[in-house]
Amino acid sequence: MPLPDDPTICPRCAFETIDRLATSPVPGVWDVLQCRQCLYTWRTTEPARRTRRDAYPDQFKMTVADIENAIEVPAVPPLRRAG
């Protein structure tokens, strides 16, 4: 579900719409969040290098172009014509 009051942005692509995928079975310990744009998924109790935009390593950051231009593996094959 959306988290409208949460200032969190995606550590990886800086997108601002974040969903909550799960919450800890022991109440209040952690949430699992996910960026709606790049699908990066993290737990709120992980180290800053995985959860905060300013600490996230540059080599793993992703842009919209990175997402849209990523190669397909495997490529979608042509549809086979009937007959």
Binding site: L21, L39, F60, I67, P77
Partner: protein, 475 residues
Amino acid sequence: MAHDDLRSFLDTLEQEGQLLRLTEEVLPEPDLAAAANATGRIGENAPALYFDNVKGFTDARIAMNVHGSWANHALALGLPRNTPVKEQVEAFAARWDVFPVAPERREDAPWRENTQEGADVDLFSVLPLFRLNDGDGGFYLDKAAVVSRDPEDPRNFGKQNVGTYRIEVIGTDRLAFQPVPMHDIAHHLRKAEEAGEDLPVAITLGNDPVITIVAGMPMAYDQSEYEMAGALRGAPAPIATAPLTGFDVPWGSEVVIEGVIESRKRQIEGPFGEFTGHYSGGRRMPVIRVDRVSHRTNPVFESLYLGMPWTEVDYLVGPNTCVPLLKQLRAEYPEVQAVNAMYTHGLMVIISTAKRYGGFAKAVGMRAMTTPHGLGYVAQVILVDEDVDPFNLPQVMWAMSAKVNPADDVVVIPNLSVLELAPAAQPAGITSKMIIDATTPVAPDVRGNFSTPAKDLPEAKEWAAKLQRLIAARS
């Protein structure tokens, strides 16, 4: 003794001193992955790890490094825990000859105890998911046996595939999935997508140790992994019918996830710290919609740390990659003595072979590259003589240093196929491949000065075995 499920194997590991229970509270990240990462750095007989006190979870049960040592690999095959590696591979190859052994169907699978369907599916409520490496895009199922069928021949038991593929959890009921184009499920998916149809799959987690070995084994397309499991176990593999897909799945699994790979759809996935010791970049990969989850009460979640070798995956797929290549090469070239394909799933392979005539060893090397597994791996082959043990790396380095004349013995072939994950490929999926012929030249290839080799004494082999027995008895 054949193990029918993961739990009985964990009991065996514990009895043999090869299971470490961690009872103190640990963080899901980074502790779980860091502990499993450490097993690869503390020696080659590291134990399996079992966690049941993970912060924020109430009933998580996590097993890691289950196959991650030579002792554990031996026990998985029902061999004594101190069986030398070369003997494990030889035992594996001997059992291959019993293939096929028909499986045994059972109706009382323990994973029938609990079910989630449709809108009620929530993978996070069943599995204590967690991240492995810093740069991973999310949480992964990386030790599953995934079952699929050939859409054009769905009743063919041999073409039903059981394989291990990386699977990212991208939603409560959605997964991203990587079928390497050379792998069997990629053939299934291509046929389904050419017809515009979804491909049903059954993803089984927490399996008996031999099912995991055969799921990571590069077998021929129409060979049944269940029939190979029976050969390796020395007893029929117990299987059951998955309720939604009707597929044959392991009887002893902890969790069975069923759904479909949605046809002709790709979505961003990764990166993931791979067995190559490098991250794969973000790729657009197929997506699975999960329609049903069946699971044991209090399931054990089995996961595997991988990153810079050696890690558990190297112990898991090392021997099971050597044996198919050995069998496939020997089928045409009985001169082949042994194959060591234990490095990075066979991206580099060492083969010992006798020679028919000059140039023969290079032909064996080229054949290795054109085996089904070789098409996607086997980027470098080192050929050594029949009296060199390819598992003994100092011997291999001796052959390389003494027998190779680079101008004549190193062959580079450009633009061959390799899996996209190979870090040196350029572009992804294409690489040059290299043969290093470190065998002694034979006529009519008359080169070098090899007429007076110093050989081991005739009695040395017997003495080596005797000394090994004495050392083993001492410990």
